[in-house]
Point group: C2
Chain length 110, copies 2
DNA sequence: CAGATAGGCAACTAAAGGGTTGCATATTTT
DNA sequence: AAAATATGCAACCCTTTAGTTGCCTATCTG
């Protein structure tokens, strides 16, 4: 597997982690800055603690969130790097598209 | 379901569509500007035409790609709007994080 | 028109995902 | 020390997803 492909796979993992409404909600509740415990994150989801714990694991494996233990509590905090990387990836794609549009325009005006 | 939740679901669908290495590859080959047929998109994937067709359907339902018929060929083109929206979503989240950091900083310096 | 090419549809399989329940373990709290 | 709280682990269920194969239809092309 080429390096490009490897990167694509990694990037896909991040998008996949974001590709679930529950996880997107959890994330939006985590980006308040301070880490939250699993139990707290469970509140208002209508799900069991285990379900939420799984979702947080998914986010963690994708690097979107990072865990830290505080006593008996497991806290999770947003890992901005991954999000910024995803943002950069999209910018690259949309950027390429802009370039393509420019080329197309140049071609048509010839 | 609230409007926020509905939007979250929609946005999650886009991320989910991007959350697969195969689809990410297809997308990167589509962003050259001009639409491509399914058969052409299949080349070099190591998959069957039907598999690729399914992936393109997924991208289409998420609004990431749009179909158009040219004779017997089915062409797909990148739909930049969806990508920009996803980008905006991430910016909003990372932006909120920046604000949170600012608040935290202010709190610590008090 | 006959053959080749591009797709669509459907059925089927294997694996991954999202959730739940039950039970064991570690930390607090009283 | 006992009760309560926060998690972790594992087994299990159901649905979705990623891929395949087989076959039928539409559109070119020679």
């Amino acid at each position: 597997m080429s390096m490009v492909e490897a990167e694509t796979v990694t990037q896909a993992a991040v998008f996949a982690a974001l590709g679930d409404p529950v996880r997107l909600n959890l994330l939006s509740r985590l980006d308040q800055g301070r880490p939250q415990s699993i139990t707290v994150m469970t509140e208002g989801t209508g799900l069991t603690r285990q379900a939420v714990a799984k979702h947080l694991k998914v986010l963690e494996r994708a690097g979107v969130v990072s865990p830290s233990k505080a006593g008996r509590e497991q806290h999770y905090a947003v890992q901005v790097r991954a999000l910024v990387a995803a943002e950069a990836y999209l910018q690259q794609v949309t950027g390429k598209w802009d370039q393509a549009l420019t080329r197309l325009r140049a071609h048509l005006e010839r």
